[in-house]
Subunit: 97 residues, 5 copies
């Protein structure tokens, strides 16, 4: 899974019939110190995540293993909201990509 | 899912028998401010997207979860046309990759 | 799907029993102006593509959705030979990665 | 599979119902000399790995092929703890990415 | 599939129960002239490949399409040993990534 922050929403009225009612969130990828990477993904939300929250998202076929996304054409799903990261000190001080 | 703009079409007469009648669109990947990335993909269209439109596309096995693409050898499908992005201001002002 | 040019063949006599009789082609990834990228992949051919031809190939589980590749340990398949690309002018003039 | 070192844990109380009781570990990707790459992933642990241990993890749908992760929305699983690497000398001396 | 050279072995006693008896090989990715890339993967061997041999490996769910790897948590499998590459001259002379 990847670590990200929800930073917005994608609005779409014309979409595949299997996607009606789904909410698409924009998730910015994060480093372990919560600084932002340049990359982002658009993910369906299965846990009620709001803008600003730190989340984990799963990609690929694994994104279809929630009740909400089963058999739907989605390749990313937010499956957990992060309370905190417990990283050993040595790692936390090192720079990231 | 990834954000992209439809910029063209791929024409092909010799293709796998499971692909007859499918339309292959060229999708340029976009940043959140709609500027273009260098990368692109070729995706099947399940929502009637036209050249110039901003879309979301799903990759991998998820691309086969539409009525049109089920059991077909395609690894990318346009599953939504984007009306607009709602991005929190702080994010929108930051530079992207 | 990705755009590529067939540039060669991989010869192999010792291979998984499910792969006997399959032809492995070397496909160089291409930009939209047909210039070559540095990356390449080895793909099974389901459409009779020859060296020099421009093709589309599908990756991952989608590569197993042809009669030839079903249930085989292959992760890339050439599923279409490209006649031509129709790219809007603005895009065609821009540089690519 | 990829080589990594467990460097921490992700705590999450609000998560998909299929993930209750699972432990999410932060895995830093490693080079063959155990030096660290910049990238990391969050993986479910199926082998009792602890912080500091060198592991192998599988990604994508393969991450769901353990008793623990079957049909769960997870895309990475630690499936082995590494005792040692046996690399031919020529390779070990070369620099890595 | 990707082209690689077997450069070593990963030893592991604590691993998922579905992996008992499997051999994990370290595969360095190669360019078409057999020069080495910086990247590597750890793959299960389904064809009896030895250290130093040039191989093809398949990734993702396709890695589970051999008798040995079916339903196992592995995401890369060596499915062919390469006898030789037949690359058109123009390509062979060009530099690679």
């Amino acid at each position: 899974m990847k670590l990200g922050r929800v930073i917005g929403t994608v609005w779409s009225t014309r979409k595949d019939e299997n996607l009606v009612g789904m909410k698409f969130l924009i998730v910015r990828d994060l480093n372990l110190d919560y600084s932002e990477k340049n990359s982002f993904t658009v993910a369906v939300d299965s846990v009620g995540a709001g803008v600003g929250e730190i989340v984990l998202y799963a990609s690929g076929s694994s994104a279809r293993q929630t009740v909400l996304t089963k058999n739907r054409p989605v390749d990313a799903v937010i499956m957990a909201i992060v309370d905190k990261l417990d990283v050993s000190v040595k790692q936390a001080l090192e720079s990231e990509e």
